[in-house]
Every structure is written in structure tokens, then in C-alpha cells.
């Protein structure tokens, strides 16, 4: 049961904690998150990691579905350019994300809800910091409003 499922979307409640879904590619970013763990680098506990083989596995629809589900932030992270285990997956993904990112902003969905990043397998510290940064950014925005599905 989600921490903030009890409240209506769009309302800021005391003690509210943002919820973030992070789609991480198996070979670099997920490994980076593991390295943060091995190095015991602390970051806020609000993020739920979903492991996928490659950042190219993530379609815009999955990102939109996460927002609809009511998460306050989404992160999609893959290997740095050149590092992709599947050679070019992250390049292919990058194009889709560029279009989606622009489109979401265009529609007026707050900047800072959906994030894209490259995190390599060696960047444990960067991963921890990224999560901190995104958590703060999302926290500042408050609970997600746009696209969250209210039951009719």
C-alpha cells in the first residue's frame, strides 16, 4: 500500500513523502545502484527501482502509466553513451525520451516530474546523489497532480 495513497492527489499534506519510480537498466544503472549499496551511500527511501534489461525497453507509455498510477516522480536511467550492453539501446532510447520530454513539458506537466539520466556501473555515489536530488526536486513540487488517475 502506497504511503500517500490515502490522500487526494494534488494536496500537500504534512509529512508527505514523494514517491518515485526508477527504471534502471540492468547493466549500468542498476549496477550503479548496487554499488551505492555496497558502498553504503545513503539516500532517501522513497524510490522504487524497477529493473529492465536496457533503457531502450522503456516506452513512453510505461512512463505515463507510472504517472497515472500516482507516483510523484519517474526516473529512467541507462548506460552512458558508448557503454550500452546492447551496443546502441541507449541511443535509440535517447531519441524517444527527447521527444517525450519535450512533449510533457509542452503540455504543461511540471518540469521535474520525469527525469532521464545516465549512470554507469561505477557511479554509486552519483546514483545516490541523483536520487537525493530528484527526491528533493519532486518534494518541492508536491504531490503529483497532472495525469494522476482519479477514480470516476
Amino acid at each position: 500500500m502506497g504511503i500517500n495513497k490515502m490522500q487526494q492527489p494534488g494536496q500537500k499534506v504534512d509529512g508527505w513523502k514523494p514517491r518515485i519510480i526508477a527504471f534502471l537498466c540492468n547493466w549500468c544503472s542498476y549496477a550503479g545502484a548496487d554499488l551505492a549499496g555496497v558502498s553504503r551511500l545513503q539516500y532517501p527511501p522513497n524510490t522504487r527501482i524497477i529493473r529492465v534489461p536496457c533503457s531502450s525497453r522503456i516506452s513512453p507509455l510505461l512512463i505515463l502509466k507510472s504517472l497515472q498510477h500516482g507516483v510523484d516522480g519517474v526516473l529512467v536511467s541507462g548506460c552512458r553513451p558508448g557503454d550500452c550492453h546492447y551496443i546502441s539501446g541507449n541511443y535509440v532510447a535517447r531519441r524517444k525520451f527527447a521527444i517525450l520530454n519535450n512533449l510533457l513539458e509542452y503540455l504543461g506537466i511540471e518540469k521535474g516530474r520525469v527525469h532521464f539520466a545516465w549512470v554507469s556501473a561505477a557511479e554509486g555515489k552519483r546514483f545516490a546523489e541523483l536520487i537525493k536530488e530528484i527526491t528533493e526536486e519532486v518534494r518541492a513540487l508536491g504531490p503529483a497532480k497532472e495525469l494522476v488517475k482519479k477514480q470516476d
Binding site: S39, R40, L41, Q42
Partner: protein, 255 residues
């Protein structure tokens, strides 16, 4: 120059079976000694945790006296031996922290030695008088920080483990069945205690405010390169991180 215008506040820990009884004998015998000594009874001198000593200093005491049974007389057989190791290490740490180690004294008083009790107390008071007041509850922030660093160091498991196992390691042998030479043990203990103390000190300094390597070096009087090396440890354990960059100089802070 001797300053006699003040009376130091002294805390003594007395073991139940010898020293406390010795103090009682002093009383029965009406031997007189200065009134500025407070006593705490413990079952054994081995019960005196070095952390108590530092807590006492932080509370504003100027000297701590730990008294136990003479070697061989311990009611618990070896408690006083352990006390000896612990206090030795504590004194070493005080020295590293720039606090006169003779503010702490461990000595032996048997149940019959009322006179010796008074002599020790008196000489200790005089010693502390000659060193001066500590006043760690006063204005000196650096002193408090250093004492806190000492306290934190005394709380780490590795330091306690080493001190607690010193006798076994030296006499019975280590896990590989080798007896350690006192020198080797000493040098390891010294460096462990030193490393932990400096790290704790830096961490406490950074608790207050973000500082650069240069500023920490200035505050501690240590070489920047050494500070840099300890910062690597602290960063790796996640205790410290880069707070901001001032032009090209990173400033560090606690989480």
C-alpha cells in the same frame, strides 16, 4: 607558576572491595583531605568505562582518579589489569587530544590503606592544581570538540575490542596462535586510536560548519595532506561529503 587561587573539581571511582574500603578507613581514622573530591563506588576498577572518564571531563571536572585493588588482589581476579589497560589507552588519547594525560590517574589502594588513600588524593589534587583548570563545560569550544572526539573514539568497537583483548593477545596469543610482541600491539593500538580520533575530530568539526581541507588543517594543526587522506576514509564511509565548491576548493560537511 602554581596557581592556588582555585580548587579543582575531582571525581574518583573507587572499587568496592579495596579502595572504597580504604577510603572508609581514612574516614574512620579521621585522616583529613581536601573536600573537592567526589567519589563514585563501582564494584571493580575494571567497571570504569573510559567513556565515564571523558563524560566527567565534559561535565566540568578537572581530574579523574580511578582507584582499585593492588595487582593480584582483585576481587574479580583480573579486573584491575583491564582497568590498567583501559586507563593507559585513555591517557594516550587525552595526550593526542592535547589534554594533559595526568588529569587521569589510576592507582591502587587496599582496604587497609587509609593513609595511602589520603596521600594519593592529595597528591593528585596538587597535580591537577599544577596543571590548571580544564573547564570543559566552559567557553573553549575546541576543547569540547576534542573531548567529544575522544569520547566517540572510545565508543568504537575496534578500540574497545583491542583494549579488552590486549592481555589475551599478548599472553595467550592471537587467533593464529601467535603471541604478539607488546611493541607491535602498542604501535597498532596507537595508530588505530590516533586514526579514529582524528577522523572523529574532523567529523565533529564538520558537524558545525562546512570547511575546506585548508581550514580543517588550520583548525587541527595537521598537514593538509594528512587531512586529505582521512577525508578519503570519511567520504568512503559516507560520514562526510562535499558540500560545495568555492571556486576550485571543495568544502566538506557532515551529512
Amino acid at each position: 607558576m602554581l596557581n592556588t587561587d582555585f580548587e579543582p573539581k575531582i571525581l574518583s571511582f573507587l572499587c568496592n572491595w579495596c579502595s572504597y574500603a580504604g577510603a572508609d578507613v581514612a574516614g574512620i581514622s579521621r585522616f583529613q583531605y581536601a573536600p573537592n573530591v567526589m567519589s563514585i563506588r563501582t564494584m571493580c576498577s575494571g567497571r570504569v568505562d573510559p567513556v565515564f572518564v571523558i563524560t566527567a571531563f565534559l561535565a566540568g571536572l578537572d581530574g579523574v582518579l580511578v582507584l582499585g585493588c593492588h595487582p593480584g588482589d582483585c576481587h574479580y581476579l583480573t579486573g584491575n589489569y583491564y582497568a590498567e589497560k583501559k586507563m593507559k589507552m585513555t591517557k594516550r588519547l587525552l595526550d593526542i587530544a592535547g589534554i594533559h594525560p595526568e588529569r587521569l590517574r589510576l592507582d591502587w589502594v587496599s582496604a587497609s590503606e587509609g593513609k595511602r588513600f589520603v596521600e594519593i588524593v592529595t597528591s593528585f589534587i596538587n597535580k591537577v592544581k599544577s596543571i590548571g583548570l580544564l573547564k570543559a563545560d566552559g567557553e573553549d569550544k575546541s576543547l569540547r570538540q576534542r573531548l567529544q572526539a575522544v569520547k566517540a573514539t572510545l565508543q568504537t568497537e575496534k578500540v574497545r575490542w583491542l583494549v579488552g583483548n590486549e592481555i589475551d593477545l599478548l599472553e595467550k596469543g592471537n587467533v593464529f596462535g601467535e603471541k604478539l610482541s607488546p611493541d607491535k600491539f602498542e604501535s597498532l593500538l596507537n595508530s588505530t586510536v590516533y586514526d579514529e580520533y582524528i577522523k572523529n575530530w574532523i567529523a565533529i568539526l564538520l558537524e558545525e560548519q562546512a570547511m575546506s581541507v585548508g581550514e580543517i588543517a588550520q583548525a587541527t594543526g595537521l598537514d593538509p595532506k594528512i587531512i586529505s587522506s582521512y577525508l578519503v576514509d570519511l567520504e568512503q564511509s559516507g560520514a562526510v561529503l562535499v558540500h560545495a565548491l568555492e571556486h576550485r576548493t571543495p568544502k566538506y560537511t557532515r551529512k
